[in-house]
């Protein structure tokens, strides 16, 4: 069980030993599902040991919900089995595509926002949730391109898919900010569109500016002030909700991550 105001951290390899020995005060951990699919391997062993002390949730990158390929049933089997092992309250992945032509791009890729693609996503998301037998939460992307074919703003597309599929929001506050800067919209309009009773979790992370001037979701540094401000706004609009800090590159010590996460408490008040 995860409290509605819980603060969590994405579990990363450099922190395994620290977490197991120190048992820091964290409400829960999130596993990147795709890295833990194989049983009897060191990552899985560590995760199971951590799970003996903390609630866990699963966050995937391989669902390929908006891909043109059929849903990968073997992958769903593996995710379902993993969810059973860790008895997670929900499973999350992204509203995006990541595979095409039998290749895995290991990236979270955008599509136009159209009715036809929303309908396609709704059907598939509802199916995945039924198949997993647990709540599915979909994360909003950070994106660097926009398409002329789009017939609605991203938040309409996102809320339409989540609400009509009967799934939950995995609302990434940093991603809203990144996309708002890249596509020149007001991030508060995005937050305003969210039904917070459907928010399973929020994510926070750092980003940087690319050489092209585009803001890129890098997860390699602290959360910037405008993202904290947007988080505060979201909290005011719809808190409490579980909040998780992601840090995937240039990973600092666990204590640094924890200090960053705890800024959320100050921001909320």
């Amino acid at each position: 069980m995860i409290a509605r105001d819980a603060l969590g951290v994405g579990l990363r390899i450099p922190h395994y030993e620290h977490v197991l020995h120190v048992k820091p005060v964290v409400d829960y951990f999130e596993l990147l599902s795709d890295n833990y699919l194989r049983a009897n391997t060191p990552p899985r062993d560590y995760a199971e040991r951590v799970a003996a002390h903390y609630p866990m949730v699963l966050h995937g990158v391989g669902l390929n919900l908006l891909g043109h390929e059929p849903i990968d049933e073997a992958y769903l089997d593996a995710i379902k089995a993993l969810a059973d092992v860790f008895d997670v309250p929900f499973v999350s992945d992204h509203l995006c595509w990541s595979r095409a032509q039998a290749m895995n791009h290991h990236d979270l890729l955008p599509t136009p926002f159209t009715e036809a693609i929303a309908d396609y996503a709704i059907e598939r998301a509802a199916y995945v949730q039924r198949r997993l037998g647990r709540p599915l939460a979909l994360e909003n992307l950070s994106s660097y391109v926009a398409f002329r074919q789009s017939t609605m703003p991203e938040w309409d597309f996102y809320t339409s898919v989540v609400e009509r599929a009967g799934v939950s929001f995995m609302l990434d506050i940093n991603n809203i900010y990144v996309s708002s800067r890249n596509h020149d919209f007001d991030p508060r309009r995005y937050v305003d569109a969210i039904d917070f009773s459907r928010v399973a979790q929020t994510h926070l992370a750092g980003h940087q500016v690319s050489t092209e001037g585009v803001i890129v979701d890098t997860h390699d540094r602290p959360v910037v002030e405008p993202v904290w401000e947007l988080y505060a706004y979201a909290w005011k609009q719809g808190g409490p909700f579980p909040t998780l800090l992601e840090w995937d590159d240039a990973i600092p010590t666990f204590d640094v991550m924890l200090a960053e996460l705890h800024k959320a408490k100050a921001v909320r008040s």
């Binding site: 699919l37 043109h68 595509w97 032509q101 990236d107 059907e123 039924r130 660097y144 391109v145």
Partner: protein, 293 residues
């Protein structure tokens, strides 16, 4: 019940978009300026005209963010999977090699770490014909460094299986059986002190170039194995290593005979005692997963 998997008509614009996007992502980065830059010259027109220009660059320029991110992510993963090889030839040259490799062997699996699986075989097949990218390390040295890195990663990622504990029936058949090595153990032979170098990297995550060490006067033989504490390395005598390899290729009795035939008269004197000790050690280390007749 979850009901049947959706067999929806895929929106046509989705299939076309993903095909074109994939073409862009899979185009190797441009290295003409000795750095990795997006190459959007092959961007399909349908895709480029569908993108909205913004205040921070044109749509096509922004597509370059995805292309560069795609390759840099894969470079970083490969550097992490094969750190000795990467630092031995330098990250820039390693990345060039990886770009060629992944051009041939596109990522297909869910775990991004698996992209390195086919690299050793690819390098073996292509090493002679590869453009050299000013790689100053001998080809044989690079292949051995890759083999050491690969042993490390295979031992780490392998699924643990129960160690072989022969019962009475197994013991009776053992002499006619070939042993199956545990997936968490690998034998490697080196003509350069690469296992020692690789071990040093466990506490050195920098990107610093590693100078090729002097070639050893005599090859070294190692058992790389997963232990409770991480990755262990055990130096083996040449004959011990040879015995373990033979045991995976031949029935046990034949393996010992073959080893004996290759030993000098002096070595043969106490070979029987040594073979017993080596077997006992291999069992204690969990080197075997089973036996097959």
């Amino acid at each position: 019940m979850s009901g049947p998997s959706p067999r929806l008509q895929v929106p046509r614009e989705l299939s076309a978009l993903q095909q074109d996007f994939t073409t862009v992502l899979r185009t190797p980065l441009d290295t003409r300026t000795k750095t990795f830059l997006p190459d959007l010259r092959r961007c399909p027109e349908a895709l480029s005209t569908s993108l909205v220009d913004g205040t921070r660059g044109t749509g096509v320029e922004r597509l370059g963010v995805y292309q560069r991110q795609y390759w840099l992510r894969l470079f970083t993963v490969m550097q992490g999977e094969l750190p000795l090889s990467a630092r031995l030839i330098g990250l820039y040259r390693f990345n060039q090699l990886v770009q060629l490799y992944l051009g041939d062997c596109a990522p297909r699996d869910h775990d991004v770490g698996d992209i390195a699986d086919r690299f050793p075989a690819w390098l073996d097949a292509h090493n002679a014909a590869l453009p050299r990218f000013e790689i100053r390390v001998p080809k044989a040295a690079l292949q051995q460094a890759v083999a050491v890195d690969d042993a490390w990663r295979q031992v780490w990622t392998a699924q643990r299986v129960p160690s072989f504990a022969p019962n009475a029936d197994d013991a009776a058949r053992l002499s006619r059986s070939r042993l199956i090595a545990a997936p968490t153990c690998r034998l490697v032979d080196t003509d350069w002190p690469f296992v020692e170098e690789r071990r040093a990297l466990m506490t050195d995550a920098s990107a610093e170039h590693i100078t090729l060490p002097s070639r050893l006067g005599r090859a070294r033989h190692w058992l790389i194995l997963r232990t409770e504490g991480g990755i262990g390395q055990l130096r083996l005598s040449p004959r011990q290593s040879q015995l373990y390899r033979l045991c995976t290729q031949l029935p046990l009795e034949q393996a010992v005979t073959r080893l004996s035939e290759q030993c000098s008269r002096q070595e043969r004197k106490d070979l029987a005692t040594q073979v017993q000790a080596w077997f006992a050690q291999s069992m204690a280390l969990g080197l075997w997963a089973g036996a097959e007749s």
